[in-house]
Structures are given as C-alpha cells and as structure tokens.
C-alpha cells in the first residue's frame, strides 16, 4: 500500500479533482488545505454528526450541573436569608448556570473536536513530502491511498490527466 499527494494551487481545481477521483472509484482520500473548502466534507463523506450532539449534551450537563451546584449550596446545605429573597433565587443563579454551560460546551467541544480529527498526531509520513508545509500556506493537497500500486497509479494518472501542471508526490513509507 502506498500513498501519493496531488498538489493544486487553487481550491476550485482541487475540489474538481477530488470529485473526479471519487468518480474514478478512489475511496481512501484525504485533503490538506490552508483553509476550510466548502464541499470537501461532503465529497470525503465525512460530515461529523456526532460533534454537535456531543456539544449539546455537554451544554445540558453544564447547565444542570451549574444550577444544582448553586441550588444545593444556597437552598439545601447552607440556607441563608439574604434580603428576604427566596432560597432558590433562580434569576440570580442563571448567569452562572449559563457560564458553566458555555464552559462545558467549549472544553468538551474542543476536546471532542481534537478526538474526532484524530489529533494530536506527532508524526505522519506525509510530513516528509517536499512542499507539504505549503498546505498551511497556499497549496491544496489531496492524499490518495493506492491499494494496488501499479494499477491504481495508472487510474490516478488518467483521472488527473486533464489537470495540467498538477504535481504528484510519492509519500515515503
């Protein structure tokens, strides 16, 4: 199994090539780009449905936990009469409840995002490809995994033939 990188200089050409590769039957694809390109997620079939649900769950947990934290403290364990207000002063609790919900969503959301992106990953053979660093500057790269090197390489060249000037790099094993 070997990998190659196809290097493009514009997101539109990369997207076009990605579509062509999908049509040609390549399924193990990866995109490296300096910015999010609309449509890539759909073509890679990688629209995460889990992340929004995880974040909503974290928000609900944070809100319930934040409210109970204040309720248990103020109304159950240390009931104090403050200016005649009810022990369960929910309007006063609401800002901290909101803050804790936001905090839980942020922390869990970032961690879940990293986990779903399989980060952190300290080394990947694609890092050794010359010019890879420009994926974070101005180049749009498609990584293709070839299962049967010679046959797939031929199909790949045919699928990308119309993109003149495209550079194809081998990823070292």
């Amino acid at each position: 199994m070997s990998r190659v990188l196809a290097v493009f200089d514009s997101p539109d050409r990369m997207l076009d090539a990605l579509r062509r590769l999908r049509e040609a039957g390549f399924s193990r694809l990866e995109v490296y780009s300096p910015q999010a390109v609309e449509g890539v997620d759909e073509l890679l079939g990688r629209r995460s449905r889990a992340l929004p649900l995880i974040i909503v769950a974290a928000g609900v947990a944070g809100a319930v936990g934040g409210f109970l934290l204040q309720y248990v403290g103020m109304a159950v364990h240390y009931p104090l009469n403050i200016g005649g207000r009810p022990l369960n002063s929910w309007p006063a609790f609401s800002t901290s409840t909101f803050e804790l919900a936001a905090l839980a969503m942020l922390l869990v959301g970032v961690l879940a995002f990293f986990a779903l992106c399989r980060l952190p990953r300290l080394y990947d053979p694609v890092f050794a490809v010359p010019g890879m660093e420009r994926a974070s500057q101005d180049r749009f790269l498609i990584g293709v995994e070839l299962r049967e090197a010679s046959i797939d390489r031929e199909r790949l060249d045919r699928a990308l033939a119309r993109f003149d000037g495209v550079r194809i790099e081998e990823v070292p094993e």
Partner: protein
C-alpha cells in the same frame, strides 16, 4: 393587489371601531392605540437602522433583505401620522400630564406637555427624512449620512422609548430600557425581512437565507440579554419604586404573557435556529419569523398595557389591526414598487465591497 385591498379593508374597519370606541371609552382606545403603535413603529424604525447598517457594512444578507427593508422603512410617514392621536390626548394616557398626579413628580422639567410634543415631532420628522433618503431611493446611502443617521437614530429611538412607553410610569426608570426596546425593533424588522425573503421563494439562495437565520440568532440573543439583564438587576435590588414595574407585569395573566414572550421571542426561536435543518428549510425559517413577530406584538402590549390604570383592553388588538391594515397595504404596495425598480447598481456594488471586506 387582493392582499392590499383586504389589508386596507381590515385597516379601515379597525379605525372605524376605534373611532366609535372614542365616544364611549376614550382612555381604553388610546392605551390600545399606544400599545399597537409601539409595535408598528418598530418595523420602519428597525428597518431603517438595518438598512443604514447594511449601507455601511455590506454583506450577502442584504441581497434578499434590502427590498423588504426599504418597503418597511418607507412606511415611516404613516406611523408619524399615527402618533398624532397620542399627542392630542396626553392627559388620557400619561400620569405626568394630569396636574393632580403630576404634583409630586420631580422630573416635570422633562416630562411636560409642550416639551414632550416638541421632542416627538423632532423624532418623527428626523426619522421620516432619513426614510426618504434611505428607503425611497434605490441607491445606497453615502457612508457619512449613514453614520450620522445611525447615531441620531440610536439617540432619538432611546429617548422615544423613554417618552412614549417608559413615562407611562413616570416614577420608574431604567437606563437599559431604550436599548431593550430598540433590540426588539431590530429583531422584528429582521424577522419581517426574512419572512419576505422566504415568501419570495426559491429565487433567494440558501446561503442568503442561512445568513439571515444567523443574524436572527444574534438579534434574539441581544434582545434576550438586554431584557433579562433589566429584570435581573431590578429583581436583585428589589427596591419598591423599581420592582413595582415588574409586579404589575408579572401578576395574574400578564405573568403568563411574560413567559410566552420569553419563550416565543427567546428560547424557542433560538433553539430552532441553532438546529440547522430548521434554519435551512424555508418553512422552518418562515415559521420562526412568524413566531418572532407574534411574540414581539405580545411584548409591546405587555410593555404598555399593564403600566396603565385600566390594564388590558380589547382595543389593543382592534387598534393593532387598524394601524396594521393600513401599514400592510402600504408595505405591500411599496414592496411591489421596489421590486419592479431596475436592479440598482449602487447597493449591489456596496454589497460586493462589503463581502470582500469580510471575506
């Protein structure tokens, strides 16, 4: 055309009922009229602010929203006329205009008949002039005019909210009140523009609709934040002369109206819009806009009616239909005229520049 005739008929019927009511219970008619006016004046006022803001910043959302916003802002003249009955009947509405009740007040240097009327005239004349500049011409307003206009609008709309509805309880004051009312205006105008964009059909792209949906979320958050902060601060202080405003507005049926308003203009549309299938579907987005407008109407009634000695009156819905019928006829007519105009170059170019700036 049929829609305009029908609205015109509803409007005239409402006005006739109000006129008949004046003979029997002028106080009830006028507080119903003020409650209705507080709702309808927000649409052209909010639309004017959004138009000027779009002239300055641009953005894709303006492409479908500018036409309904211009049509809504063009109705300012009608609302200026609707203010007149209130100006002629100040003692029927405002305690500070009744000598026997005004005697203990310390803020009469500000709250007195002539000054109030003069301020009101300055506000509506300024707003009407701005609407002539921004809404009746297709071209974008030059940036200096838009900047000065927005600053003046923020100041005058705040003072207008203090004057027209907050002074119903002249002992009570809240510095957040003006911004809270303005955020309601903005939200209602944006919901109206989004509704028009949804009704316009598939001609409006999904991206534009999603942008409007995102802006609605921002509007909802702003309104909810300001409204809740005012409540939280006053509730925590619990001072007799401040909490009385909420006591009147949370007692009995008005408490349920407050809950409905918080749900219908806050929680429900917020959670509906952050769930992207709703924001993406035309029916979902249209339903959210309808809910926002209906809840905003409730909020305006809730701001005005419990603060008056008589409380709820059936003249509130009657006057709402009366002003609203005329308003809708004018709005639909202007919308048709605006849409028939050849696509103006200037606002579109401004939109493109704005996008590039945000890009």
């Amino acid at each position: 055309m049929r829609g305009r005739t029908a609205s015109l008929l509803v409007g005239v019927a409402g006005l006739v009922l109000c006129a008949v009511g004046l003979a029997f219970d002028p106080g009830a008619v006028l507080r119903g009229w003020l409650a209705a006016f507080a709702f309808w004046v927000g649409l052209p006022l909010g639309a004017l602010m959004l138009l000027l803001a779009h002239d300055l910043t641009g953005g894709r959302w303006g492409r479908p929203a500018r036409e309904p916003l211009r049509a809504a802002a063009a109705t300012m003249l009608l609302l200026a006329l609707c203010l007149l009955p209130i100006l002629f009947a100040l003692p029927l509405l405002y305690p500070w205009a009744r000598p026997e009740e005004a005697a203990p007040l310390k803020n009469l240097f500000y709250l007195n008949g002539p000054f109030f009327v003069a301020r009101a005239l300055v506000f509506v004349v300024l707003w009407t002039l701005l609407s002539l500049v921004a809404a009746w011409r297709a071209a974008a307003v030059p940036a200096p005019v838009a900047v000065v206009g927005l600053i003046l609008l923020a100041l005058t709309a705040t003072l207008a909210a203090f004057d027209w509805t907050m002074s119903l309880e002249p002992e009570w004051g809240s510095s957040i009140y003006g911004m809270m009312v303005i955020s309601g205006h903005l939200l209602a105008a944006l919901a109206l523009a989004t509704l028009a964009a949804v009704v316009a059909g598939p001609a409006v792209g999904e991206g534009e609709r999603m942008d409007l949906g995102s802006l609605l979320i921002a509007g909802i958050l702003l309104w909810f934040y300001l409204s809740f902060m005012q409540f939280l601060i006053i509730w925590e202080e619990d001072l007799p002369k401040e909490i009385s405003w909420y006591v009147a507005r949370l007692a009995g049926g008005w408490g349920w109206v407050a809950v409905l308003g918080a749900l219908g203009q806050g929680a429900l549309p917020f959670f509906a819009l952050i769930w992207w299938p709703v924001k993406r579907s035309r029916i979902g987005l249209g339903a959210v806009c309808g809910l926002l407008l209906a809840s905003h109407l409730l909020e305006c009634w809730w701001l005005v009616l419990p603060g008056t000695p008589g409380g709820w009156t059936w003249f509130a819905p009657v006057a709402t239909l009366g002003i609203g019928g005329l308003w809708a006829a004018l709005f639909l007519g202007r919308l048709k005229a605006v849409r028939r105009q050849p696509a103006a170059e200037a606002p579109h170019a401004a939109g493109l520049v704005g996008e590039a700036r945000h890009g």
